[in-house]
Symmetry: C2
């Protein structure tokens, strides 16, 4: 059996009892290490599980899925994925390849930012399409996420914006030379995502998103250091939520009960500047 | 501290290690028992945790939240909720009341159908607004869910439809007489939800949803008996997915990789009739 095991959002103890039991007895255990992060690293996880882990980077998962799956028709092999196994798109390739090879799969679900985001006080039923905001760089300034947010907002729906993560990326130079040297991880912060959004709205002379638009910044959801702040874009643009991972919620039409709940996260001018 | 602890979707072992540790040491533990179900009941959970649980029905949570929160300013009190604590709307009242009283809260997130639904092969990023389909009865035939599905579909987005659950409901007669006698639990099945949708489209002479519309029925996601079937509405209208809980996914525009993954769940005519 091949197991996809979600690790949840926080630390080693966010694994489910069921997931932990499978890890204890599996033949081989991979740790997916490029679509999200936990508060703890490989070594701490290994200590907690009492098992060795094989790091599965993007290259291994996307280009050598077969070696990960090998033997799982007769023995138990598992891959550990931060959040829920189906929160990120990359693992579906592995799932498809397993199906092709007739390997039985089982998914051990866990918390995902897609549902945990409800802790900001907005009802999950009132969210529209989830949006990924990519980090602008090197002359690459995509805007498609902006249209999706505006689309949700004009229909009264909230938007959860997942912010870009760059894990184990190569510089163009190293990639050309075939050097396996990787850049340090980088993460798009809430404040910088807001700056990108306001740059687009200004350029387009659009008013749906503007400096007075109310939004909610989420940082490290499910961690002990979790932080949620709510305020106008111009306030949050100057508010540093600290270490990653950040997400940004842009409310559509809020119900008064949602407003009541969100209020507790409001920043005032003194705090935010 | 007041803890909201998600139990995930399947059985007792779907709790996280962190959640279990809190249960072991909490002063008082409530079990929310009316917005969803696990494969196991109160007694099995009590045996697994080694702790007594207090059942929190709708009346207790909605009308006597203060008694649940009492003492949590000085001791640890927890409420256990199937799925993720923020998957259902009812617990936000408790959260708001705790905030009002200045009681510190901590959320232990877990799997929710909102993210676990990704196991049907569709990308979670391509879902629009989530929809609740209510059970038609007693001359009450709401249609608002239909418009939301059509809204998503015309924008190319998938829709996750959560199907109605009636737990611990009173008959009108018993309610009038003040008898605390409850009807057996009832659940809207995929096939019946499809019948309701096709009844609306026929009445409206609408073609966005029709007997040939492709959809995916999900039953008991996260349970050992999980079942996923994909096919036209007319096929799935005659396909019984068995015991609850069911959900229905209505795809918008599918990417070819999504089509590949969904294909494995396809029913053929022989199986479905």
């Amino acid at each position: 059996m091949f197991y996809f095991i979600g690790l949840g959002l926080g630390d080693a103890k966010d694994i489910t009892v069921k997931g932990l039991e499978i890890i204890k007895k599996a033949e081989r255990i991979y740790l997916e290490a490029y679509t999200s992060i936990l508060t703890v690293g490989k070594v701490e996880l290994e200590q907690f599980y009492g098992r060795d882990l094989i790091v599965a980077d993007r290259q291994l998962v996307e280009q050598d899925a077969d070696s990960i799956l090998d033997g799982s028709d007769v023995k138990d092999v598992a891959i550990l994925i931060v959040g829920d196994p189906f929160g990120a798109t990359t693992h579906t390739d592995l799932f498809a390849r397993a199906a092709e090879r007739g390997i039985k799969c089982k998914v051990i679900h866990n918390a995902s930012i897609l549902s945990a985001a409800g802790c900001c006080g907005l009802q999950l039923y009132n969210f529209g399409e989830t949006v990924s905001i990519v980090m602008w760089e090197d002359g690459w300034y995509p805007e498609s996420f902006y249209d999706k947010i505006v689309g949700n907002k004009t229909r009264g729906l909230h938007t959860l914006c997942l912010l870009d993560i760059k894990m184990k990326e190569q510089s163009v130079e190293n990639m050309m030379k075939g050097n396996k040297i990787y850049e340090p991880p980088r993460f798009l912060k809430c404040k910088d995502a807001i700056t990108q959004l306001l740059t687009i709205s200004e350029k387009r002379k659009d008013t749906v998103l503007n400096p007075d638009t109310f939004c909610i910044g989420l940082a490290r959801i499910g961690w002990d250091s979790q932080k949620i702040v709510a305020g106008t874009m111009s306030l949050l643009q100057n508010f540093d939520l600290g270490p990653p991972i950040h997400s940004l919620v842009i409310p559509g039409k809020m119900h008064f009960l949602e407003e009541e709940l969100v209020k507790q996260f409001a920043v005032n001018t003194d705090v935010s500047t």
